[in-house]
C-alpha cells in the first residue's frame, strides 16, 4: 500500500476538507504571511512605478499611456496570484477558465466599444455642418 491515510475517528468532523487534502497545519503560517508580504511589496513597487511613469522623461513620452496600461495589467496579475490565490492547482482549473472567459468579455467590451465609436466619430458629419443642414 503506497498511500496510507489516517482515518482517526472524528478527526475530520466539522473540518472543511475531504480526506486526502493536505491538513491545515501543512501550510505553515509563516510561509503564508511571507506570500502576502511579497505580494504587497510587488504591488507597492508597481504602484510607485505607475506614479513615476506619469512624470518621468525616462520613458518615451508618447508611450507613457501604454506603459501605464502594462503596469496596471501586471499589478492585477500580482493581486490575482498573491491575494486571490488564483493558481494552476487542479482545484483551481474552473476558476482559471472562468477568469479567462471574463477577460475575453472585458477585452471585447472595452476595445470593441473604442473601435466602433472611433469609426463612428470619424464618419460623422462635423457638428457645424450638421447644424447647417438642420436649418
Amino acid at each position: 500500500m503506497s498511500h496510507e491515510v489516517d482515518y482517526e475517528a472524528g478527526s475530520y468532523v466539522g473540518d472543511d476538507r475531504v480526506p486526502g487534502e493536505p491538513a491545515a497545519e501543512e501550510h505553515s503560517l509563516g510561509r503564508e504571511v511571507r506570500g502576502y508580504v511579497l505580494g504587497l511589496a510587488l504591488a507597492v513597487a508597481l504602484t510607485v512605478a505607475s506614479f513615476w511613469a506619469v512624470e518621468t522623461h525616462q520613458i518615451y513620452r508618447p508611450g507613457a499611456a501604454v506603459a501605464l496600461l502594462v503596469l496596471a495589467v501586471a499589478q492585477m496579475g500580482i493581486h490575482l496570484i498573491f491575494f486571490l490565490h488564483i493558481t494552476t492547482a487542479p482545484d483551481n482549473a474552473n476558476n482559471v477558465l472562468a477568469l479567462a472567459f471574463g477577460a475575453l468579455i472585458v477585452c471585447l467590451v472595452v476595445f470593441g466599444s473604442l473601435w466602433v465609436m472611433g469609426h463612428l466619430n470619424q464618419s460623422m458629419v462635423p457638428m457645424d455642418q450638421l447644424m447647417q443642414m438642420q436649418r
Binding site: 475531504v18 502576502y36 501605464l68 496596471a72 493581486h79 486571490l84 492547482a89 482545484d91
Partner: protein
C-alpha cells in the same frame, strides 16, 4: 473504508494515487470538491460578472473622455496626491484583509477582529477621501451634469465607491458573526466570499487609478 477498496472504485488511469482517495482533482476524477472550493467558485463567477459590468463603465468613460463640452478636463481636475493616498489605503486594507483570512485560518479571535477592524478603517479612510474629492469637484462646478466626460467619470468611480461602502457593511457583519458565533464552517465560507470581494475591489481600483487618474493627467498631446 480502506484505501484499496476506494482504489477499485475508481479508474486509475485518470490520475495519480492521491486523487483515488476521494479528493476532486479538477480534471473530472475524484469525489465532489470540498464545499470551500464550490462556494469560492460560485462567488468568483459573481465577481467576474461584476468586473464585466465595470468594463462597460470603463468603455463608456474611454469613449466620452474627450467630450468635456468646454468644461474642465481630467488634466485640470485630478489631484494625484489624493489618488496616491487613496491607493495606499486600499492596498493596505487588501493586505490586512489577507492577514485576517490567515487569522481566521488559525481560529484566532483577537487577531481576526484586529485585522478586520484595520481593514475597515482603511476602507473608511478611502471612502472619506473619495467623498472629499467628489464634493470638491461639485463645488468647482464640475458635477456629473457638467459634461459627458464628468457623467462617465462619476458613474465609474462612484460605482466603485458604492461597492466599497457595501463591502464595509459586509465587513461589519462578518466581525459581528465571528464574535457572536465563532469560527463556524458556514461563517468561514461567508468570510471567504468577503475576502474575494474585497481583493477584487482593489483590482478594479488598480484599473481606475492607472487608466482614469494617471492616464487622465498625462498632457493631452500624449494621449491617443
Amino acid at each position: 473504508m480502506t484505501t484499496s477498496a476506494l482504489r477499485f472504485a475508481h479508474d486509475p488511469d485518470f490520475g495519480p494515487p492521491e486523487t483515488v482517495l476521494g479528493a476532486a482533482s479538477g480534471h473530472g476524477s475524484g469525489g465532489p470538491a470540498p464545499k470551500r472550493i464550490v462556494v469560492g467558485y460560485g462567488f468568483w463567477i459573481f465577481l467576474l460578472s461584476d468586473v464585466i459590468m465595470f468594463s462597460a463603465f470603463f468603455a463608456a468613460y474611454a469613449v466620452l473622455f474627450k467630450n468635456t463640452a468646454g468644461g474642465p478636463t481630467a488634466h485640470d481636475l485630478f489631484d494625484l496626491r489624493n489618488t496616491a493616498v487613496e491607493t495606499g489605503c486600499l492596498l493596505a486594507s487588501s493586505f490586512t484583509c489577507g492577514m485576517a483570512s490567515l487569522a481566521v485560518g488559525q481560529r484566532n479571535q483577537k487577531w481576526t477582529q484586529i485585522t478586520l477592524l484595520i481593514t475597515g478603517l482603511l476602507g473608511l479612510a478611502f471612502l472619506l477621501l473619495e467623498f472629499h474629492e467628489f464634493s470638491g469637484f461639485v463645488a468647482r462646478g464640475a458635477g456629473p451634469s457638467r459634461s459627458a466626460f464628468l457623467s462617465a467619470f462619476f458613474t465609474l468611480v462612484g460605482c466603485h465607491g458604492v461597492h466599497v461602502s457595501a463591502g464595509l457593511l459586509w465587513l461589519g457583519t462578518m466581525m459581528a458573526q465571528f464574535y457572536a458565533k465563532g469560527f463556524r464552517q458556514d461563517i468561514r465560507h461567508r468570510f471567504l466570499c468577503f475576502s474575494l470581494f474585497w481583493h477584487a475591489l482593489d483590482i478594479i481600483w488598480v484599473a481606475i487609478f492607472s487608466l482614469v487618474y494617471l492616464v487622465g493627467t498625462l498632457p493631452p498631446e500624449l494621449l491617443p
